[in-house]
Amino acid sequence: MKRVYVREEYCAGCGLCQVHCITAHSEYKGDIIKAYKKSFPRPLARVIVEEKRPLSFSLQCRHCEEAECVKACITGAMQKDPATGIVINDTARCIGCWTCVLVCPYGAVRRDETLHKVAVKCDMCAEAGGVPLCVENCPNGALEYREER
Amino acid sequence: MQTIDASGMLYRDLNELIRDSVSRGVKEIRLINVNGHRYIGDGLAKEASIIIEGTPGNDLAAFMEGARIEVHGNAQDGTANTMNGGTIVIHGDARDALGYSMRGGEVYVRGDVGYRVGIHMKGYQDMNPAIVVGGKAGDFFAEYMAGGIMIVLGLGLAPDEDIVGNYCGTGMHGGIIYLRGEVAPEQLGKEVKVVSLTEEDTCVLDGYLDNYCQYFKVKREEIDKKPFCKLLPYNKRPYGNMYAGW
Amino acid sequence: MLREGQIRIPSGCAISGIMNKKGRVFGGGDIINSIAVMHDRSNGLGGGFAAYGIYPEFKEEYAFHFFFDHTTIKNEIEALLKKNFIIASGEAIPIRKSKSIKDAPLIWRYFVRPKHRVLVKQEVDEEEFVVRFVMRVNSEIDGAYIFSSGKNMGAFKGVGYPEDIGEFYRLEEYSGYLWTAHGRFPTNTPGWWGGAHPFTLLDCSVVHNGEISSYDANRRQLEMYGYKCVLQTDTEVVAYIFDYLMRRQGLPLDVIVKAMASPFWHEIDRMNKKEKEILRAIRVVYGGFLVNGPFSILIGTNQGMIALNDRIKLRPSIAATKGDYLYVASEEAAIRQVCSKPEHMWMPRGGEPVIGLLEASQPTRVPVRTEQEKIAINS
């Protein structure tokens, strides 16, 4: 399946992937200013940017074939869509036990405790379809959406 | 050993002949009746030995990468220009700009050298070029020097004669100069200071001096009669503070 | 008003050429009839002819055709000629008064040979001397213009429709084995007879239909080699290119046509290695002689006739043969007028020359890329 791959040698560490991720997961899709100023709670970015200058890179859920988070999920909220391969957390069923946080070898599951305790993670912007918005908006082509090489 | 009579030959033909021979695996070439033939040994990367009888032309061994050239006579301007490797032994004098931008290899001159010798010589990693001059050197010796070793022995100087000309080491920002004898402060570039030799210096010098003695059949004692002084740059970046951002 | 040479005047045209490759001579009537058919391609502001083999009695002398503005300059020129040449003959070119031809200058011809001691003094060969003389007169002497300078050939031209010019010059009274003709459609009046076609240098004459967009690139290239483009016409430039490549560089005809109308790079890329190397060299070295822009051109020389189109054929041309005759014209009708049933008629491709050499068994149609053709040209 297509995944998001970062080329750290070209990641400028600007954080725009996060800005667009937040926007994409807010109620004001496509409007960054509203997403930031009006959404409450403001969604967490599902993409993690790590920086240790000069190194920087962003990281999203790898949507593992053998997804530890899915197997470990105590509620069954975390599921891998058999058709698309995308691992999605059903936040209505998630109770925030953080077992997924404990087992994700990429550290790609985030805790959102603003309203309810739910685990949030990259959903490949599946709802919008097409190229995930972090990839689309990376100003330096540091993120690629492609099949594994 | 292949002998080539260069008399009447154009340099281009001579050099092509040399390149051909070397590429065919000839290890030693003797050139006779050389007079003004330029670019001998230019860019030569292979191990080969070229013995020149006569006066080779300018840019002898320019861009040379590995061969050995011995000149029985004097060499003209631009010898060892941007040379990267190999050895040149000149049984006479060499003229101006010897070893310009030289990055590797060694040059031994039995006699005197001209102006701007070793200008912009530089070293890099294990490449530590060296020029050893038996007699005296002209002005601007080791100008811009950035690396490597330059040695002047001052053999056979007249009593009042200086071992180097003026502006010695001007703009120098790397490398070491060894002068056998003393040098007047007013002869030095403002970027250079005189320091005394350490034991390590003596070791370094030893090797080059032994080579010199061996190549030119000079007795080592003759050289050891007089102590060396050493010139070093004050600063690796003499022009670091010259500019103001606009 | 500025006259031709002081300004550059773009023109449209009609051209026609007839030759007998066995060298059999024929009268000027045919060529006049041929060019007359294409009356509408010219506008009465220029017409002219080149005729080869017309002066057998003076075939070792250079036939200088002069336009003089007045008698004074004629006398000056005659003195200059005497200084440099042995003059075998000199006379006014016979003309026929015509209503349609006005403001004719004095038109004279001289059959001359350069004096040996002059050649020795200047250390040049005969032809180069003649070329320089022509250049000098045409660029430096006001009121005199040499419009023809070859051996056993002559150009006849003026301001008017070509058929009127032909009549004016009484061309039906001459016999030649190769005739070319030109009807001109200049955008403004040249005001001067020298501007008409053909343009000649030595025995090379050029009639040309087209506008050379590379004019200044070609001109400046030529001027490096001593040519002086006094007329600012494309025709002049073509004649000089031809002279330079053929006479001065000694290149074979096929190379010349490939320099002037070279194949495209993508065509060259498809050739075999040897051809590619040659064609690349021709383009690289003679790029300044690539004639760019629309043209169809007829070059006459004592050896024959060459017709050439620009590479993308922006101007028309058609060729035909019958027996020993080769015809080339802007329109088919111009050929049919004088040869109603040609044996073979074809449209040369862009950049593909039509070459007719005297004494050759067949006029050669030259497809650009075959080995065979090269041999044919070289032979």
Partner: protein, 501 residues
Amino acid sequence: MSLKSYVTPSFLIERNKERCIKCKVCVQQCANEVHRYDEEDDEIISEEHQCVNCQRCVTLCPTGALTIRKNPNELRQNSNWTAEAVRAIYIQAETGGILLTGMGNDRPYPVYWDNILLNASQVTNPSIDPLREPMELKTHLGRKPDSLSIKEGKLQKKLPPQLELELPIMFSAMSFGSISLNAIKSLAEAAKQEGTYFNTGEGGLHRDLYQYGENTIVQVASGRFGVHADYLQAGAAIEIKIGQGAKPGIGGHLPGEKVEREVSETRMIPEGTDAISPAPHHDIYSIEDLRQLIYSLKEATNYEKPVSVKIAAVHNVAAIASGIARAGADIIAIDGYRGGTGAAPLRIRDNVGIPIEFALAAVDTRLRQEAIRNQVSLVVGGSIRNSADIVKAIALGADAVYIASSALLALGCHMCQKCYTGKCNWGIATQDPQLAKRLNPELGAQRARNLLRAWKHEIQEMLGGMGINAIESLRGNRLMLRGIGLTEKELQILGIKNAGE
């Protein structure tokens, strides 16, 4: 006692608070540390003193919240003591330094390209449609023999070595050190893809770039950095750099801070040392010495590569060029006074040299007068800004052009002219790995390629309009040019007529 600086910020940063989402992209991206996030007030604050107006923050700001404008502070109006003149004195009074700047001359001198108009066909000859008919831009650079000898369908003597360009545009010399490896990779890849050349400048050839050898012109300059036998062999041609339009007559220093490991390895000098390029080549003190170096290089490469000599356009450029041609150079590259630079003393950049338009016209004319124009190819550079400049240059007599500033603009340069600081926020003129990686060479190559292709199309359009379908027919075709707003003298030097003539 610390000296209070009298130098006020050149730029003003306006942050639209309605739009700012405090995402800190600006903070993150500014290498000059102009923006900072104040945690206590949850505000982003901009301190303008260090702002160079590179527009990085403006461009990346996802909400368009930032505007940078000229600082509206004005000294009392004075046409003589302009704000810049005063500012320069303050800086020099505070530092005692030579004023250093980057990129090309920005003075309001006339741009002659803009006073030249092109011709087009109407009626008497047809314009050619380059979209559907062949339109050849292929250009060969190198010495052309005066004649060819072809016997029995065989070339009797091989052509001297030629560079073959698919379009008459090359990337001008920019060294690794002055610009980042990613920038060079971008240009090298674009050159390869589009069939042209890039030039190493005096920075040596990084090991990653040897694969681009066929599209490389390797430069030999006075410092001889990174010059060795393999390097000379690696390129398609060798260029001896005598001078550069932005700083004719002077050498250059690459400061030690920029000599990081890769630069050091490529230039073959120790890490952290200044790379000093002397003003002259110390083996060239005369025209015959130039010949000596030209042939030294030819000998070293077996006469297989054309040798170019690059000079700055100076007053007697025509005579110099003629000498260079006679010294055996195959290509002469002339760099006009608007040429770019990574670092040049301001006063030199702005006051030395002549416009490339004049230099080109004069050189071409002179070489033709001497009938040696054919022996050498002419490449010009020095602020070629668009395809029309190129068409005009070729019509004036150039074989091809060098572009550098335009190429860097294509890669993202925003002309802040601070290349010499090494803090290029666009990852171009920097060796800071944090900054250099901002230029993804794949995107860079694509952008540079796009520029070349766009210009190629435009050149083809203009040629087609003139009724020309091969670039050689434009070369020196000055009849295609007309001057506008020029004096008689200027027209005469350019060798063109006035519009309407």
